[in-house]
């Protein structure tokens, strides 16, 4: 038996022996997150129970130049919480209390390990909710949401995590604790905005103040079936052009529908559909019927084959369960799948979806599309079988080609899942070396030794070393 790593004893002295994992078999669960294509165990996992412990652990590691990774529920889809070699994982899941709800000022204060959906559940009785609703909301933590700037189906109207975070307590890379934000527009640079979405590379979030919203008075949901992806995509643009801001505007293509219907929450969508739209409108009840009528009309102009309004809350909930479990449902039609997360201007949906289907045909791998159509955030699910040699690599390659297609259409390589380790090289599709260097310059302010979640987000140096180019060349 190998000798126990002395670091484990030291960490145990800070957080207690029951809050450190170090045995090989215990580390297996921490080899990867929701991005399963690459695995590596951490050196150890620690479970601090309060900010002071996080700070003490970080100080200890910082002094010894040992790299570390914050981790929430591990549902991240870009490998942000995956060790690359020798990191200690700092898991925030024991810091999972709801600290405070202030209904008058419409805010809640949570610890980072508090699960997203629990917040909505906690304030539901008074008619409030927490708006960002990633499909993983039953499991993912709000700390992880802040780190990824998570989105969700209803972010079209209500914005993503960054629009709902009011304040943070953060443990910096050297263990210092700072509280930022709290009231709007605090003087100074917007560190709150910078930290949100920094994927655990600028600080460890230990406390979060978020906005809570009142439930809308009314809500109606429409399901529209189409015989053509193109017509469905055009309906998306038409709805937006009609001046309607739906709360959600989701799309699934044929393969995705096949998946969800084979999954645990089938709705009984008719066979042979090419695409469906799930559209929700909310707000003051008095205006909703008019908006629904407009949406139905738009869909009819785009040759919808069937369009219906949810008759009951129960029906609405079934439609959403079907949509929100789309990723895991792919397990029913494929041994493995890789989720991509490109964004495009929504007016270019038809053209990019067409490109994706060509990429799929050429590669021989099926691609299911289930996505936030309203804000152009695609989630192509690349179906593959890891047991077939070379197929995993092919799936990764296809994912990269899809992101290139999005970037070429004026879009982005990720809308909500983050860069992590997965899309580091793809950063070059949208940023110049100089722009990447500028971002690394900011990381170095917060994380000068690159100990905090090292080597994530940015492509390998060398090619992106600081270079002088003539001004204006970045266009």
């Amino acid at each position: 038996m190998a000798a126990i790593d002395p670091l484990v004893r030291e960490l145990s002295q800070i957080v207690g022996p029951d809050a450190v994992l170090y045995r090989r078999e215990d580390l297996i669960a921490y080899e990867c997150d929701g991005y399963t294509v690459r695995k590596q165990p951490p050196r150890a996992v620690v479970f601090p129970s309060c900010t002071a412990e996080v700070s003490a652990v970080v100080k200890h590691l910082h002094e010894r130049h040992i790299p570390f990774i914050p981790r929430g529920a591990g549902t991240g889809l870009s490998g942000g919480a995956i060790p690359l070699g020798g990191e200690v994982i700092i898991s925030l899941v024991r810091m999972k209390r709801l600290l405070h709800v202030d209904y008058e000022n419409r805010l809640a204060v949570v610890e980072p390990g508090f699960v997203n959906l629990k917040l909505t559940n906690a304030v539901a009785a008074k008619g409030y909710y927490y708006a960002p609703d990633p499909s993983s909301q039953y499991a993912c933590t709000i700390g992880g949401n802040v780190a990824e700037n998570a989105g969700g189906a209803h972010c079209l109207k209500y914005g993503v995590t960054t629009n709902h975070v009011l304040g943070l307590e953060v443990v910096l890379a050297d263990g210092e604790i700072v509280e930022i934000g709290g009231v709007p527009d605090t003087p100074g640079y917007d560190l709150l905005g910078l930290l949100t979405g920094s994927e655990g590379t600028l600080g460890i979030v230990t406390k979060i103040t978020v906005r809570i919203l009142k439930n809308p008075e009314g809500k109606k949901t429409v399901l529209a079936y189409f015989d053509s992806v193109e017509e469905a995509s055009r309906a998306v643009s038409d709805i937006v052009a009609a001046g309607i801001v739906p709360a959600a505007l989701e799309m699934m293509d044929k393969t995705a529908i096949e998946g969800v219907e084979a999954g645990n929450y089938p709705v009984g969508h008719p066979k042979g559909l090419e695409a469906l739209l799930l559209i929700e409108v909310d707000g003051i009840s008095a205006g909703i019927d008019d908006q629904i009528a407009r949406i139905v009309e738009v869909c009819q102009n785009r040759n919808v084959s069937e369009v219906k309004v949810a008759a009951s809350e129960e029906e609405r909930a079934r439609w959403w369960a079907n949509r929100k479990t789309a990723f895991p449902a792919m397990g029913a039609i494929s041994p493995d799948y890789l989720v991509q997360d490109g964004v495009i201007p929504r007016s270019r949906l038809p053209e990019v979806l067409e490109k994706i289907s060509r990429i799929s045909a050429r590669s021989g791998l099926r691609i299911a599309n289930v996505f936030h159509a309203g804000d152009g955030n695609l989630h192509p699910l690349i179906l593959f079988d890891a047991r077939i040699p070379g197929e995993t690599e092919r799936a990764v390659q296809v994912g990269s080609e899809v992101l290139k297609a999005c970037a070429d259409a004026g879009g982005s390589i990720t809308g909500e899942h983050g860069v992590g380790i997965e899309k580091k090289e793809e950063m070059r599709y949208i940023f110049t070396d100089e722009e990447i260097a500028a971002q690394i310059g900011i990381r170095d302010v917060f994380n000068p030794q690159n100990l905090l979640n090292p080597d994530k987000l940015f492509p390998k140096p060398g090619r992106c070393a600081e270079m002088r180019t003539a001004p204006g060349e970045a266009r």
Binding site: D102, Y103, E104, N105, R106, G127, E148, G151, G159, V160, N163, V178, E179, I180, V183, P184, D185, T186, P187, G188, Y189, D190, L191, L194, G197, L202, K214, P216, V240, A241, G243, V245, I284, S285, A286, G287, D290, Q291, V343, P345, D375, G376, G410, S412, T414, G415, V419, M427, I430, F431, T432, E434, E435, Q439, I442, V445, F446, T469, P471, A474
Partner: protein, 437 residues
């Protein structure tokens, strides 16, 4: 020396020695430079960087009295000639504009397609999008629509050494890399010069109205419980702005505190909300309402009421504006405190604040010798509630006697680090921002 360096960077016709040697608000430049393109901005900054010259970027000049203790920098970089829409895609509800475009010009172009910039900053005729974003200005409607940080999705920034760096992108959802745009929003021109700004838009609501609820007997407990009832209801007001008695008087010729509640939605939804609000208003409330163009007109008067860098020069020396940030409901107490302190200090004070968004503003007129004491008391009241107060507008002479930004915020050393990383030679707006950044 400075002149030589600049003339090499940009054609002589776009440079002139400052027309007036001094400006009552400071933040002036020995030379005024008028670039028309991003390349020209970059060339000027590159030259400034090489020769360690200081540069103050300026759009419409409405915020010239906001921060800074410099009488003049070497260069006042006037961006008013960098204007116009670069790219507008109504189907995507996004627009890219050059920094020197005025808010009004943008609004007019978007209105053609039934869309709008969901920002309601002050002085829309003169204020440019670059200045509004750099100062993070916002109006009462941020309650519903949010502020610049919610709408800006991408920037082209000319770094202080002349490099052009893009942040974000042109799509409405994007988490690739750091959200660098946030650093420049509200940076007061200390981190470079934004040349292009890409924003998310909204459709123009088909119907708008404004309810003005006046409370002649200033029954604060009743106002508070009404506001709480509104906030706890499913109503969706676009503003819930408390006006102080003097401001109410100036805007509407009536006395007492008032609430300006804007409603913007479909016709039925607006009418329904009007009825609800009227039914729930406390007894004794005087209610007036304006619809469509009349409501818009009321707001456009409101946005022009207050001191700015473009108000008449003779007024500038005896005016001051404060911006106060607090928890939403503390606005009620703070606006009242600002009013009461005005009476005590013999200053004319108009104030307003957003119940539901937490930003208040106070406009003070009178003997500048009394400003410091007034500011100190307002600041204490704000800080006691976990908030802050900063001087948003004052003459240079007044600013030099006041602590404009208050004490450095938490995380200040990180902010200094950010400044050092981007502008190590302190080219851009030196000493304009909090803590001397």
């Amino acid at each position: 020396m400075a002149a030589m360096a600049i003339t090499k960077a940009i054609t002589v016709g776009k440079i002139r020695p400052a027309a007036e040697p001094l400006h009552v608000l400071g933040n002036h430049g020995a030379y005024e430079v008028f670039p028309e393109t991003e390349e020209e901005i970059a060339a000027v900054l590159q030259a400034a960087h090489a020769h360690s010259l200081s540069v103050i970027p300026m759009g419409g000049g409405t915020k010239r009295g906001w921060g800074g203790t410099l009488e003049k920098a070497d260069i006042l970089l006037c961006l008013s000639s960098c204007r116009g829409i670069v790219e507008y895609s109504p189907g995507d509800m996004t627009v890219t504009v050059k920094a020197g475009t005025t808010i009004r010009e943008i609004a007019e172009q978007l209105a053609v397609h039934g869309q709008m910039l969901p920002l309601d900053p002050f002085w829309p005729d003169a204020a440019t999008i670059g200045g509004v974003v750099a100062a993070n200005d916002s109006g009462p409607k941020r309650l519903r629509y949010g502020s610049a940080r919610d709408h800006v999705i991408g920037l082209r920034v000319v770094y202080p050494d002349g490099r052009v760096i893009r942040t974000g992108g042109k799509v409405v959802k994007n988490v690739a890399g750091y959200d660098m745009s946030k650093l420049f929003i509200g940076s007061m021109g200390t981190l470079g010069v934004m040349s292009e700004i890409t924003l998310k838009l909204r459709p123009v609501p088909p119907c708008q109205s404004l309810l003005l609820l006046a409370f002649p007997n200033a029954d604060f407990p009743a106002i508070r419980s009404f506001v709480l009832a509104v906030l706890d209801s499913t109503m969706e007001p676009v503003s819930l702005e408390l006006l102080s008695p003097a401001l109410h008087q100036a805007m509407n010729g009536r006395d007492g505190y008032a609430l300006a509640i804007a409603l913007e939605d479909g016709e039925k939804a607006v009418r329904y909300q009007e009825e609800w609000l009227i039914a729930h208003a406390p007894p004794g409330t005087e209610i007036r309402s304006w619809r469509q163009e009349e409501a818009a007109h009321w707001w456009s008067r409101f946005y022009r009421m207050f001191p700015s860098g473009v108000s008449p020069a003779d007024r500038q020396a005896a005016e001051m504006a404060l911006k106060i940030g607090s928890r939403n409901l503390d606005v009620l107490e703070l606006v009242k405190t600002c009013h009461d302190l005005g009476e005590r200090h013999g200053l004319a004070v108009e104030g307003h604040g957003g119940l539901g968004h937490g930003i208040s503003r106070v406009y003070v007129k009178g003997d500048p010798a009394r400003f410091a004491a007034y500011l100190q008391e307002v600041r204490t009241a704000a800080e006691e509630r976990g908030g802050y107060a900063v001087v948003q507008h004052a003459s240079l002479a007044v600013r030099r006697q006041l602590d404009v930004w208050g004490r450095p915020p938490a995380g200040f050393s990180l902010m200094q680090g950010v400044k050092r990383a981007i502008d190590p030679r302190q080219v851009c707006s030196p000493n304009r921002f909090v803590g001397g950044i």
